[in-house]
């Protein structure tokens, strides 16, 4: 009996250790960048000597500021566009898909498996050939939305799959117009999926290099500036930039986590 108890404790310790190693594997590069960006010796920041110089240099560098603004615009527009389209596709598949719902869904999820570089190059040449569109912010947003759409579709389909569409009918027979029924009943019951889709699309298009790179030409975005800067050697500003983006992304994920938790709590109650 004693042996069994100590065995259990050992297993617990072992599993804890594995967890730590796994997390270390996943987060060490990210933490290292944060460390390096805050250090006066970015190339070998151990032991640390804290210094905010790289952040100040980043702040005064207008190229990075333009790039940041552009990325923000692309990410915001892409997340909204792909979420709206993804929502409509989800409703279409789940409500009106009938027997072929799975087939429709497969085709909506398909672009997920196309490589981003391919999508970028092919979008660029297609838009130019057919519409004579030069690369600009609009084409970048559209091409990014193609990529993000599938993610949005999958996220919302997973959540709306459990939604009882007859809730809308219940609202409508209570005197709510279809728009009111959506706003008063469906949106509050499905908003966690919609928000999740917004956040994922935002993060994906904020970080995506390939698609924006081919479609934007000379317009700088965060990833493309970072990539360009790499050719002239790794500068501390780049570390600062990466860290800021990482913090932004983690904030978004934290919001997602909190939403999921409050959602589950509501269901349990």
């Amino acid at each position: 009996m004693y042996a069994q108890a100590s065995n259990e404790r050992l297993t617990k310790w072992l599993m804890g250790a594995i967890l730590v190693v796994a997390y270390a594997f996943l987060y060490m590069p990210i933490v290292h960048i944060l460390f390096a960006s805050l250090s006066s010796r970015p190339n070998f920041p151990y032991p640390p000597e804290f210094d905010y110089g790289s952040y100040i240099r980043l702040y005064t560098n207008t190229v990075y500021q333009d790039a940041f603004l552009n990325s923000l615009i692309i990410a915001t527009c892409t997340s909204i566009l792909s979420t709206v389209l993804g929502f409509l596709a989800t409703v279409g598949v789940l409500r009106f898909g009938g027997r072929n719902a799975l087939l429709y869904a497969a085709f909506f999820a398909g672009p997920l498996f196309v490589s981003e570089i391919l999508l970028g190059i092919s979008s660029m040449s297609l838009y130019y050939l057919v519409f004579e569109l030069q690369g600009n912010m609009v084409t970048a947003i559209i091409a990014n939305s193609v990529h993000c759409f599938s993610f949005c579709f999958l996220i919302m389909a997973a959540l709306l799959y459990r939604y009882d569409w007859r809730m809308n009918e219940a609202a409508v027979v209570c005197g709510a117009s279809p728009a009111r029924a959506f706003y008063e009943v469906m949106l509050p019951l499905t908003w966690s999926g919609i928000l999740g889709s917004l956040i994922v699309a935002f993060v994906l298009s904020l970080n995506g290099l390939d698609i924006s790179f081919y479609l934007l030409g000379a317009t700088p975005t965060m990833p493309s500036v970072a990539w360009g800067a790499l050719r002239y050697g790794v500068k501390p500003e780049l570390y600062a930039l990466s860290s800021i983006i990482n913090i932004l992304v983690f904030a978004a994920i934290a919001v997602l986590y909190l939403v999921a938790r409050s959602d589950r709590k509501q269901q349990v109650e």
């Binding site: 009882d164 007859r166 809730m167 009918e169 219940a170 609202a171 409508v172 027979v173 209570c174 005197g175 709510a176 117009s177 279809p178 009111r180 029924a181 008063e184 009943v185 509050p188 019951l189 509501q266 269901q267 109650e269």
Partner: protein, 363 residues
Amino acid sequence: MYQSQNGTDAPYIRIANISRQYGQVRALHDLSIDIDKHEFIAILGPSGSGKSTLLRLIAGLDRPTAGRIFFDGADVTDLPPHKRGIGMVFQEFLLFPHRTVRENLAFPLRMTKQPPKMILERLDWAESILSLNGLMDRYPNQLSGGQQQRVALGRGLVTHPTLLLLDEPLANLDRELRNEMEVEIRRYQKQLGIPFVYVTHNQEEALSMSDRVAVINGGKLEALGERQLIYDHPPTPFVARFVGKSTRFDGAFDAASKRVDLQRYNYSFPYEEVAERKGNARVEVFVKNERFELLPSRSGGAGIPCTVADVVLRGPFVEYILETEADERIIAVQPKREEPLALGTKLSLSWNPSQCHVFPAGR
């Protein structure tokens, strides 16, 4: 005899020659029902008979392929559901899970833009009439099935709608609660004086609550009439089989002797009403299970010999499961006496000819 007899006034709700087709499938075919203002009408039918389709058409959740629907003289056929001023209660209740009972009840009042004073009044009214005291601030998933059912009813009734549609609202409740709610629902209907249209596949529910019963089968109106009439004088074999619990026998009608002979048993009984066909016509005989007469077998007289195979006690009634010589099982319901018949008792089964229903067979 089986049609509405409400005289000269236009009916409050008129469903006129409604059809609904889904591709090749005919869900409803040329169906007409008039409903009075103070009436509780049950739409009774097996699953797939089209009764739920009818309810959705009245609600406006679906559109008929042909026919019109009138509320109080006005044609509402092309009106969307939220403009029809109806209430509806669903089998799954469909309460809004993110809203409290109070908010659920206030929802239809807000949607129809009632003044705040009226909303408060009606909430109080619903709280007291449905005995929801102390539950108003709970969420639907904190309520029992019966409580959820009452909230669903309240949400359908708070606006005092033109009519209330109920789609098998008791199907998800246990038996005891169901009996309780049957009485309650009928009481609300009498109190409010608005028509209730109650869809169910359960003939007991239909009979216990309604004023009139409409039996639907295969998308067609099989019968429509006062519940007692439907029960005592089923107009078709389907109604005879579906309403009440009956046993069916095959027989033949002899026009000369005016007698019905059963095929598998040496039993015949006089029957006055002439079957539609001439000569020896095959007929179906339906006898309600509570209308069998059981006599000891040695008493002589005509009857189907049988043996008591099992006895099921049902409170004030006893169900005798009887085995006949032809290896058929017949259930006979009798009032409970001091001592029920013992297993293995030999009996003679017969019935009063005026209490059974004979239809020409082979339809």
